[in-house]
C-alpha cells in the first residue's frame, strides 16, 4: 500500500465519533421504541399496539393525515415551482438575498406564526374583515380542514422552495442557451431541460414536506380547534394525557414503517440522480 492510499484509509477513523453518536442516539432509541411497541405493560410480546393503527378512530386519523400530507405536498409544489422560476427570471437567483427572504420567517417562532394564522382566519378575523370591507360574504374557514391545510402549506412551503431553488439554480445558463441555439422554444427548453434537471429537487422537497405535514400535531391543534385529529395528535395524547407508552410506541412504529415504505421509492430515485439537494 502506498502512502497516499494509507492516508485515505486512515481518514475513515475521523468518522468514529459520529459513528458512536449514530449508534447511541439513533439506532438504540429506535430499538427501544420497537421494544415498547412490541410488548404490553407486563412485558409480554404482542402485536396489538402496532395493529391498533387499524382501529376505526386511528384509521380515520391516518386517512385524514394522508389527505392533509398529500394536499400539502401538491400545493407546496404548485406554489414553490413558479416562485423559483420567477426568482430565476428576475435574476434574483444567484443573490443570497432571495434565500434570505425565504429562511427569515423561520426565525419567528412557528407556534406564534400559526397562532397568527388563527387570528387571520378566525370567523371575525383579519381575512373576513377585509372580505366584508370589499363587499363579499365572510368565509367560515376557522376550525376546518381547509384551515389546517393553509397552516401546513404555509409552514412547509420554504422546505419545498429551497431544494427546488438549489436544483434549478444549478442548471448552467450555457445549457439553456445551447438548447435555444439548437432551435428549442421556451416551452421545449422548460420540459426537456429545466424540468428534468429539477426533479431531484422536487423529490427532496417532497420528502421534507410530506412526513412533517402528516404528523404536525400543533398545527392541527391550533387551526383545527382540537376536533380534527392527525395521527400525530393521537400519538401525542397516548404519551402526554393517556400515559399509554406502549400504545403510543406501537402507533409510532406503524407510522415509521409506513413512511419508510413510501419513501423507499423516492430515495432510490434520488440516489440515482445526485447527492442530497436539501439545502
Amino acid at each position: 500500500m502506498n502512502e497516499l492510499e494509507e492516508r485515505s484509509s486512515k481518514r475513515h477513523w475521523l468518522a468514529t465519533p459520529y459513528a458512536i453518536w449514530i449508534i447511541v442516539f439513533t439506532v438504540l432509541p429506535l430499538i427501544v421504541i420497537f421494544r415498547y411497541a412490541l410488548t404490553d405493560s407486563a412485558g409480554h410480546f404482542t402485536l396489538e399496539n402496532t395493529a391498533a393503527v387499524t382501529s376505526p378512530i386511528n384509521m380515520k386519523a391516518m386517512w385524514f393525515s394522508l389527505k392533509i400530507a398529500f394536499g400539502c405536498t401538491v400545493f407546496c409544489i404548485l406554489l414553490a415551482y413558479p416562485m423559483v422560476l420567477a426568482m430565476k427570471h428576475l435574476g434574483l437567483g444567484r443573490r443570497g438575498i432571495s434565500l434570505f427572504i425565504i429562511i427569515l420567517p423561520m426565525w419567528m417562532n412557528f407556534i406564534l406564526r400559526i397562532l397568527a394564522w388563527q387570528m387571520i382566519l378566525s370567523n371575525n378575523g383579519i381575512l373576513n374583515l377585509m372580505i366584508t370591507k370589499l363587499g363579499f360574504k365572510p368565509v367560515a374557514v376557522a376550525n376546518t380542514p381547509t384551515a389546517i391545510m393553509i397552516g401546513v402549506v404555509y409552514d412547509y412551503l420554504p422546505y419545498m422552495i429551497l431544494p427546488i431553488y438549489t436544483a434549478i439554480m444549478d442548471i448552467s445558463d450555457d445549457l439553456i442557451e445551447a438548447a435555444k441555439d439548437l432551435g428549442a422554444g421556451s416551452f421545449t427548453v422548460f420540459f426537456k431541460v429545466v424540468f428534468p434537471l429539477s426533479i431531484p429537487g422536487l423529490l427532496s422537497g417532497t420528502v421534507m414536506v410530506f412526513v412533517p405535514s402528516m404528523t404536525s400535531f400543533v398545527i392541527s391543534d391550533i387551526l383545527g380547534g382540537g376536533k380534527l385529529q392527525l395521527i400525530g395528535n393521537i400519538i401525542e395524547q397516548d404519551f402526554i394525557s393517556g400515559n399509554n407508552w406502549h400504545m403510543g410506541s406501537g402507533l409510532s412504529v406503524a407510522l415509521m414503517i409506513f413512511v419508510l415504505i413510501s419513501m423507499e421509492f423516492t430515495i432510490r430515485e434520488e440516489k440515482t440522480g445526485r447527492e442530497s439537494v436539501i439545502w
Partner: protein, 266 residues
C-alpha cells in the same frame, strides 16, 4: 413580452412574500397593541418591550433556547465535519450505510424521533437540559453533514496530498487547505442547525421533562391561557435583530465576491 414576464414574476414573488410575511406582520403589530386582547386594537404602546426585561420567566427561556441552539450547533460541527471527511473516504457500501443512517432523523417524523429519544433517555439520565441538548445535537448533525459533504466532493484532494508531500503535518494541512475549502459548507451547516434548534418544538417537548422551558415549549404551554404580549415583543426583537445581522452578512459577502472578481480582472 419580456417586460410582461418581468411584471408577472414580480407580482408572483410579491404574492408568496405576502403569504410568508402576513403572520409575522400580525405578530409585530400585536407587540405594540396596548390591549391584552388579540382581537381589539387598544392603541400604540412600548409597554410590552419594557416589561419584557423584567419578566424573569421569559428571559430564562430565551437564555435556555440560545444556549441550546449555540451548543448543539457547535457540537454538531465538531462531530459532523470530521464525520463527513471520514465518510467521504469510505468505500461505496459503507458510504451508503452511513448516509442512510444520517438520513434517518431527517426522514422520521419529529414526533417519532422525539419519542424514541425520550424512551431511551429515561433509562439512564433524568430528563432536563442535558437530554434536550443531546436530542438537538442528534437532529442537527445531519444538517451539518449534508451541507459540508457537497463541498468535500467538489474539493480537489490532491492539493491536500501535495501539501502533505511538501512536508506539512496533517494538522497544519487541515487548517491551511481543507478547512478554508469547507468553510462555506460549515457556516451554512452551523446556521441551518442553529435555525432548526431555535425553531424546534416537538422533539424538545418530548425530551425536556419538567422544569426546563425553551421559548417554543413555553409558548405552547400558554396557548390555552393566552400568550403574554411580552412574547410578541421578544419575537419582534429576535426577528429584527436576525434580519439586520443577515442583511449585513449578505452585503459584506456580496462586496467580498465583487472584490475577488475585480482582482481577477486586473
Amino acid at each position: 413580452m419580456k417586460r410582461f414576464k418581468d411584471i408577472i414574476s414580480g407580482i408572483y414573488i410579491g404574492f408568496i412574500g405576502l403569504i410568508l410575511y402576513a403572520p409575522i406582520l400580525v405578530l409585530i403589530v400585536l407587540s405594540f397593541n396596548a390591549s391584552r386582547s388579540r382581537v381589539t386594537w387598544g392603541g400604540f404602546t412600548f409597554d410590552w418591550y419594557i416589561r419584557l426585561f423584567s419578566n424573569q420567566q421569559i428571559l430564562e427561556a430565551l437564555f435556555t433556547t440560545l444556549i441550546l441552539a449555540f451548543a448543539s450547533s457547535a457540537v454538531s460541527v465538531l462531530v459532523g465535519v470530521p464525520g463527513a471527511l471520514g465518510i467521504h473516504a469510505m468505500n461505496k457500501k459503507k458510504y451508503g450505510i452511513f448516509m442512510t443512517l444520517t438520513n434517518i432523523p431527517m426522514l422520521n417524523a419529529d414526533i417519532v424521533t422525539g419519542i424514541a429519544l425520550m424512551l431511551w433517555f429515561v433509562h439512564f439520565i433524568p430528563l432536563g437540559f442535558g437530554s434536550v441538548l443531546l436530542a438537538h445535537i442528534t437532529f442537527n448533525i445531519p444538517y451539518v453533514i449534508l451541507s459540508v459533504m457537497p463541498r468535500i466532493q467538489q474539493m480537489n484532494l490532491s492539493v491536500y496530498e501535495a501539501t502533505r508531500d511538501l512536508g506539512a503535518g496533517p494538522v497544519y494541512a487541515f487548517f491551511k487547505v481543507l478547512l478554508p475549502e469547507m468553510m462555506p459548507g460549515i457556516i451554512s451547516g452551523f446556521f441551518m442547525a442553529f435555525t432548526m434548534s431555535m425553531d424546534d418544538f416537538v422533539i424538545t417537548y418530548f425530551t425536556k421533562g419538567a422544569g426546563v422551558n425553551t421559548l417554543s415549549t413555553m409558548i405552547y404551554g400558554e396557548i390555552r391561557k393566552g400568550i403574554k404580549p411580552e412574547m410578541y415583543a421578544l419575537s419582534t426583537i429576535i426577528f429584527v435583530a436576525v434580519s439586520i445581522i443577515l442583511l449585513c452578512v449578505n452585503t459584506l459577502s456580496e462586496k467580498h465576491k465583487n472584490h475577488i472578481v475585480e482582482e481577477k480582472n486586473l
